[in-house]
Amino acid sequence: MGYPYKSHPRETPILSKYFGDPEARTLEGWQARGGYRALPQALDTDPVAIQNIVKESGLRGRGGAGFPCGLKWSFMKIGDGKPHYLCCNADESEPGTFKDREIMRWTPHALIEGCAIAAHAIGAETCYIYIRGEFTEPIAIMEQALAEARAAGMIGANACGSGKTINMWVHRGAGAYICGEETALMNSIEGRRGNPRIKPPFPAVSGVFGMPTTVNNVETLTAVPHILNNGAEWYKAMCLGNPKSTGSKLFSVCGNVARPGNYEVVMGFSFKEFLYDLCGGPPPGRKFKAIIPGGSSVPVITIEEAEQVKMDYEGFMEFGTMLGSGGVIIFDDAQSMPKQLARLARFYAHESCAQCTQCREGTAWMTKILERIVAGHGTFEDLDTIFELTENMTGKTICVLSDSCGAPVTSGITRFRGEFEALITGRRSSTVAVG
């Protein structure tokens, strides 16, 4: 079942199959639905062999960057005598993205099994599931499921009777988008301010508590048991577009659309059919105008462009944007793009951790300029300043939050310049009239 709607026949519900089914939440209910089959076997398998299966499957990180998962795991040197850590990234704060929330709310044991397998595959005995502080319901559900899994011996000192230790704990965040950035997340676990760290060293060398660490997104980890149960070939075969993008992907759909919600489709699915058939098209009487397809940090595209996209990492890139986290934000023809982009800029200004000057000052300045334009006090020079500012904010900072502020804004101005100019000339003519 999809959520909150019954899944569409053209969806491929693998991760989302039991969304909306409260009985899937319990250990017993989950086992009755095929859960915890992969874990005992995995714990008896050599970690490197598991890494190889996941490599072969083509699974890429679902948190935003799309880094190959098996390859990331192979950076962890098994048997180096150091404690290794797995951090599951459940910070989910990227505007437009709300898929990890549903995975945790409906199928907590699926995530636990995925984390346990991943921990074994990277030689870790401890996994922290970092959940954003606002997710009080998912936190309670995960805590309950972890207690059940521990009591049943699925995880803990002798996980599934394998003699291996896999401890797993929820770590609650406290309100900070930036803690979704992997090194900020590690600082937050360590009891520090959530400032991203300069890389290198990379987490696989020196991560949380200075030890080798892997950070993976909730959706990435939840896919892993399915890959082990059904094989890498099965996963790889789920591909309608570029062979480098495999498997099923959850897309969260929000904004001005008839049926917002989470939809799971095979990589490479037609975005046009997705938007009109699965999501039901625009609200009655409206037209789709603009789409930010991968969470708010990626460039905005027009509906005309979107209709040509194949939904995979490469397909979105072809149109100058990104698949990102799969958070599809839709604006219809009743929305003002300058207003919405100004609001997004404000988000980044609020969430900047303020370590880097370009980001701290740039995001605030960007917001100020955009709000000025929206208020009818902008100039054409302001538009040029935004592009110049974006250049100074891109590729120069510790993390990419700074880049993320400029991406939707400049792409929005390029594609919807008329709306910005109308606000600016509107001001001019009124000035002229008064003068």
Binding site: P4, P95, E134, F135, T136, F209, G261, S296, R343
Partner: protein, 183 residues
């Protein structure tokens, strides 16, 4: 000490959580339930410092907000300076540095909710609670309303939080009903 209006606190709040002149009552006294809870949490991490965020959550659950005195106590318990603890408290938006209304209401207004009318939901809350302005606490000490950034439930516009309760799909029409529940 005066409590100015801030994102996390109300200017006219009644200090319902203890007065500054009263002797300080520790949260983590030996043998207390919060102490036992914290000790259990500390066993999950290789350092004491890692217990800081969890410790602050325990404090906020117990006291409603995090005072300077509590910061010092938390520092003593975890082997950190009060200044360090304050540095962490101030980084995270969910920790209250001032007393807030009995019902702390957070409304998402980021773009995905904004284009669905979130600003009207905020307005309705400000009017119907009598708060008038963002960040201020109503005269009866009951409500504080703030805008927050994306709550991670964008397809269920507009999500809000009332204390620890997460409520999604809130429209202007539902505001009165919600406030009746929290009164």
């Amino acid at each position: 000490m005066s409590h100015g209006a801030s994102a996390a606190g109300g200017a006219v709040a009644k200090p319902t959580h203890g007065h500054h002149d009263e002797p300080y009552v520790p949260v983590f006294a030996a043998g207390s339930a919060p102490r036992a809870k914290l000790d259990d949490i500390l066993s999950r991490y290789p350092t004491k410092q890692a217990g800081l965020l969890p410790a602050l959550w325990i404090v906020q659950d117990e006291r409603g907000w995090i005072s300077e005195q509590v910061m010092k106590e938390v520092g003593d318990v975890l082997g950190l300076t009060a200044a360090y603890v304050k540095g962490v408290v101030t980084f995270y938006t969910m920790y209250h540095q001032h007393p807030v209304g009995k019902f702390f209401i957070q409304v998402c207004t980021t773009s995905c909710c904004n284009c669905m009318g979130a600003e009207d939901v905020v307005k309705a809350f400000l009017e119907k609670t009598g708060c008038g302005e963002l960040g201020l606490t109503s005269a009866d000490g009951k409500y504080t309303v703030i805008e927050v950034e994306c709550l991670g439930a964008c397809g269920f516009a507009t999500p809000i939080m009332v204390n620890n309760d997460f409520i999604d799909s809130v429209s202007v029409e539902k505001v009165s009903e919600i406030l009746r529940k929290y009164s």
